[in-house]
């Protein structure tokens, strides 16, 4: 049935001559491309109008242009890139550590249902505790500086990565396992040759969610006495009442988070295409 549908569709596509694009369709296409930017432009405009309205003082709400000037200031000071670098390094190490623990643990729990039955309630009780709630203990146990920040990001990334892996393993198509057993796959081969690759697209989806969660808690983690990073920059600017710097750093956190998410989404799409989970694009 599907094969017939495909041939019918391609036949009708071939029968329809491709018209040269006229001005109207070009404009419509351009408008569609510009839509995402128009949202951002609207946000900036509202921000600018609010700042210029005099409703708040310049210390309370600087405009977007003030934030831009602030970014030029830290840029010329040469402190911006090191702060970004420090944040990215903390983020990366915490994220990699979280994934490095969560994925193997998730594989184990996914493969051993009885173990998961025991662990599930523990995870479900710990998971709703916001990473922020770990602040006091993180400082008590790990002091201030790098480690508590990394721990907070770790906690944020850990649960989504773990839960996605467990569910991915449990949802591996049983027919894949049948085929594996049928061809005489040994237990030690099964994990790497069948289960991990079969579960990988769903694990990857969990890893993407974990990236987002980790980045969200980066700023919070860096408020625990770190001496560098975007979170520190915000705390530091607050102490000097440099609201323009705060907004600049916030914007930067958002932009970098967006870029990271897009990057991971791109990798995920490549992966899904390889696994055949996305329709191939036919030119």
């Amino acid at each position: 049935m599907s094969a017939e549908a495909v041939t019918a569709a391609s036949a009708s596509a071939a029968a329809r001559p491709r018209r040269p694009p006229n001005a109207r369709t070009v404009l419509a296409a351009a408008a569609r491309k510009l839509l995402p930017f128009s949202g951002v432009a609207l946000l900036l405009a509202v921000w600018h109008v609010l700042a210029a309205s005099g409703l708040y003082t310049a210390e309370q709400l600087p405009g977007p242009l003030d934030a831009l000037r602030a970014s030029r200031e830290v840029w010329t000071e040469g402190t911006l890139l090191p702060h970004i670098g420090a944040s990215l390094a903390r983020f990366a190490s915490a994220y990699i550590a979280a994934v490095g623990v969560a994925v193997p643990l998730g594989l184990l729990f996914g493969l051993r249902p009885s173990l998961w039955k025991a662990a599930d309630p523990v995870i479900q009780v710990l998971r709703p505790i916001s990473p922020v709630a770990w602040f006091p203990l993180a400082v008590l146990w790990l002091g201030i500086g790098n480690l508590p920040a990394i721990a907070i990001i770790f906690v944020a990334a850990f649960y989504p990565a773990l839960l996605a892996t467990v569910s991915a393993v449990r949802r591996v198509d049983p027919v894949f396992l049948r085929v594996a057993r049928n061809f005489g796959t040994r237990d030690h081969q099964l994990l790497l040759k069948v289960i991990v690759p079969a579960a990988f697209p769903q694990i990857a989806m969990g890893l993407r969610i974990a990236v987002g969660a980790a980045w969200v808690y980066l700023v919070a983690g860096e408020m625990l006495g770190a001496r560098s990073g975007l979170g520190f920059l915000i705390m530091d600017a607050r102490n000097f009442l440099r609201t323009d710097l705060i907004l600049m750093a916030m914007g930067l956190v958002g932009a970098i988070g967006f870029a990271i998410d897009r990057g991971v989404a791109f990798l995920e799409r490549r992966l899904d295409a390889r696994w055949g989970l996305l329709p191939e694009e036919h030119p």
């Binding site: 049935m1 599907s2 094969a3 017939e4 495909v6 198509d173 027919v175 894949f176 049948r178 085929v179 594996a180 057993r181 049928n182 061809f183 005489g184 796959t185 040994r186 081969q189 040759k193 069948v194 690759p197 079969a198 990988f200 390889r274 696994w275 055949g276 989970l277 191939e280």
Partner: protein, 272 residues
């Protein structure tokens, strides 16, 4: 007496249904399949065809009775009995070649050798040139060819096929039936083939085991004496097809030939 390739002796498989009632998916079922034989299991859904196939494959065990392969009791799946599924069950993360190599790989066949074997079987099923593709880039019929190549690559004694062409369109199905018929003949594999397509069973089988549901059992075994390669349109084929349809209760006695013939062949409507 030499042992049959596959021998099912008084096998019963009892399940507890969703309503809590015990049901015999298969009841006191006995069947012998000689080496190189091609047996089709034909019947409506719920008659235990797939249950039987799973018992022979070793995915499942009988509640009572036993299943022997060359006189040895089946106690689990084995590469000497490869299953082919309706859903193809190819590994999407592997290339076509990687899929066909899979069974050889887990067996520890060296890379160069397993590549050569896999390529040979891809040629056999007419898919040379697709080895670097991934399964999702192929049509359903091509995917099932890959599954066939994957099964044959480990040189199994028997191939157990569970409605392998059920998801394919009619023309693709016919082409694959031709191919399976050809391969079965040339490679002398023992084949157990589950289907609910009457024509398919008449085209492929040496014997058709017509099964009946609740409990799953043999209704009748119909031998197919037609010479291979078979022609779907000759009288012997059509007569046998009518007989099987009749056995299934789809066609009533007293005019099976007329009702099952293609319209253009009907005597009263032919032109000259």
């Amino acid at each position: 007496m030499t042992a049959s390739a596959i021998s099912v002796e008084h096998a019963t498989r009892r399940y507890r249904g969703r309503d809590g009632e015990l049901r015999d998916a298969l009841f006191d079922f006995s069947l012998e399949v000689e080496a190189g034989g091609f047996v089709c299991l034909l019947g409506p859904s719920g008659c235990g065809k797939t249950t039987l196939l799973n018992l022979v494959a070793g995915f499942d065990r009988p509640t009572s009775g036993r299943v022997l392969v060359h006189g040895r009791k089946v106690d689990g799946p084995d590469p000497s009995r490869i299953c082919i599924f309706q859903s193809y069950a190819l590994y999407p993360w592997r290339s076509v070649l990687g899929n066909v190599e899979y069974g050889l790989e887990v067996r520890g066949v060296p890379r160069a050798q397993r590549r050569a074997i896999a390529e040979e079987y891809l040629r056999l099923v007419g898919l040379e040139g697709f080895s670097r593709h991934h399964p999702h880039q192929l049509s359903g019929g091509m995917q099932q060819r890959v599954a066939l190549a994957r099964a044959l690559a480990v040189d199994p004694e028997s191939v157990l096929m569970d409605e392998p062409f059920g998801a394919l369109d009619a023309l693709t199905r016919i082409r694959l039936q031709d191919e399976v018929g050809r391969i079965a003949l040339s490679r002398s594999k023992t084949i157990l083939f589950v289907t609910h397509d009457v024509e398919e069973s008449v085209f492929l089988a040496d014997r058709i085991v017509v099964m009946a549901p609740s409990p799953g059992r043999i209704q009748r075994i119909i031998p197919v004496p037609l010479k291979r390669p078979r022609c779907r349109t000759n009288d012997g084929f059509i007569a046998l097809r009518a007989e099987v349809l009749h056995e299934l209760g789809v066609v009533h006695p007293g005019g099976p030939l007329r009702t099952t013939r293609p319209i253009s062949n009907r005597p009263q409507e032919s032109a000259p």
